[in-house]
């Protein structure tokens, strides 16, 4: 686990690296999806790649799955080129856009996918771990959205891979189904197994990952533990009517971004409590206080606009 927001570029990847991106670049025509992406994942680590839509998350994973080849830089899976078939024997994947034939049952799908791997798990064990024992004989076409996602998860798991790569595993699920799926993902963590997942939800990254990588416009903005990321990114939005001017508010502790919104002042900050305390001390007349969770877009806006230099060396 990375202890600090340390740069990862430049270092030679250790032989034990599960996955290593070095300056990986990929563009779709004129649209640059990844502009020099660096990431090293170690055995046993759970890494969340967090970013808004279009950040380049799926492209990064497709490079690691061997579906695409980097146009510059390199991508290694257990030291090998992921486009080599044998390198993928230690990899299990869950794709973002994933569907399988509707006429085949859960068990038939899991059994078929198990046959792709040299030493798969027991079929029933994979089905049970994914929470599908009750519907094992049901055709894919008759599963709920959450059950379908759990089947995709079972397919990622059944090869007993050392690395699970999950592309937005909970997209489109309601809150209850998401929590069930999180529990299934946690149940898959075993000694030495690594997980790389993408999400655009900070809570999900926080719930599952040891390390978060913030990806924006194809570059790594920051990386660290969930606690570090939450401390350095704006995670709260404070709205208050105050007589203090913008410059004065900006100087308060933990402030990332300040903007006027009619009568009110809106502040993106790491933590609300110390800010509110200072604010009310400086301006006892301040009123109409509202505190809410910042969106990921807010967090990225704060990170890119207010503190451009802090994480530059990572990219």
């Amino acid at each position: 686990m990375e202890a600090t927001l340390s740069p990862t570029a430049g270092a030679t990847p250790p032989a034990t690296a599960v996955a290593a991106f070095r300056g990986a670049r990929y563009a779709y025509g004129a649209t640059v999806a990844l502009a020099g992406f660096d990431l090293t994942v170690h055995p046993g680590e759970v890494v969340a790649v967090l970013g808004p839509n279009g950040a380049g998350k799926t492209t990064a994973l497709h490079l690691l799955m061997g579906l695409l080849a980097p146009q510059a830089g390199s991508v290694r899976l257990y030291g090998a080129d992921p486009r080599e078939r044998a390198a993928r024997e230690r990899l299990g994947v869950m794709l973002q856009v994933s569907g399988v034939p509707e006429t085949l049952t859960v068990r038939e799908h899991v059994r078929a996918y198990a046959a792709y791997y040299p030493a798969p798990m027991a079929i029933d064990e994979a089905i049970a771990t994914a929470g599908l024992a009750e519907v094992a004989r049901r055709p894919y076409g008759k599963l709920s959205g959450g059950q379908r996602q759990r089947l995709h998860l079972a397919l990622a798991l059944v090869g007993d891979p050392d690395l699970l790569v999950l592309d937005e595993p909970t997209t489109g699920l309601d809150a209850a189904a998401r929590r069930t799926l999180w529990a299934s993902i946690r149940a898959m963590l075993r000694r030495g197994r690594s997980v790389i997942l993408t999400t655009h939800d900070l809570d999900e990254a926080d719930a599952l990952a040891d390390r978060i990588v913030l990806l924006h416009h194809g570059r790594v903005l920051a990386e660290g533990t969930p606690a570090e990321i939450k401390a350095t990114t704006a995670s709260r939005r404070v709205r208050i009517v105050t007589r203090l001017d913008e410059a004065r508010v900006r100087a308060l502790p933990g402030v990332h971004e300040v903007r006027r919104d009619g009568q009110a002042t809106e502040v993106l900050c790491a933590a609300a409590e110390p800010l509110v305390l200072e604010l009310l001390t400086a301006d006892p007349t301040a009123h109409d206080l509202e505190v809410s969770g910042a969106t990921l877009e807010d967090a990225f806006l704060a990170l890119t606009a207010a503190r451009p230099r802090t994480h530059r060396e990572v990219a």
Partner: protein
Amino acid sequence: MLSTPTHPHAAPAATGGRSMTVGRYLRTLGSETGIELLKNVRIPIFAVSTVAFPVMFYLIFGATFGRQGAGPINVATYMLATYGAFGVIGASLFSFGVGLAVERAQGWMRLKRASPMPASVTVLAKLANALAFAAVVVAALMLAGVTVGGAHLSLGAAAALLGVLLLGALPFCVLGQAFGYALGPNSAPVVLNLIYLPMAFASGLWIPIHQLPGFVQAIAPYLPAYHLGQLALSTVGAHVEGNPLGHAAALLVTALVAGAAAVVAYRRASLATYG
């Protein structure tokens, strides 16, 4: 095909090594062929249209013209060869063309490409399925032909017809693959039918070629289905236009051109992704 080349700088993988054993390759192929077959037989529209339609058409036309002469043999025997060609072409074009287009759209193909299964297994499993359906449709036609159709077929001729039709199915499997990578899941069945049905008619697979209008007879030699029809006819003792080697060469050219198109379409399709 059975192994991947060792990357000069790659550390050896801890499990499995670089290449698959022949035994594991065959087990994977067996499993994949089985799952493909299970998937196909559970899609009624596929099973019905590939097997039932050629047999139904054969019985309708065969019952109408069956015992009339068609050169040295009767029409029912003649049509056994041409409807056999019609049936195997359908099984090949649709199991590859529609199957691939649908599975690409689902994301199933991508899931397989990200797996450690060799790409050749996907192709061979689909091929085994297309040929299995082709064999079923030919067997069903022969059964209908000799029981109610009035066809006369020796055991040797039946074996030769089946052999020619299954070999002749291969270029159409390649053609189906090209369409499967180029077309979307909704357009694939429509486009394939628009090609398949007129081509079958103009190639003399429904009505004997010499009974078709002159301009259609002039077009026929440019259609691959015509050449398979003529090769099939040669096995049942019918009068054949041209040289069998020429028909075989035309089918080989079809396979090569379709193969090149399939490679281009595959490359285009595999680059499409999501941000």
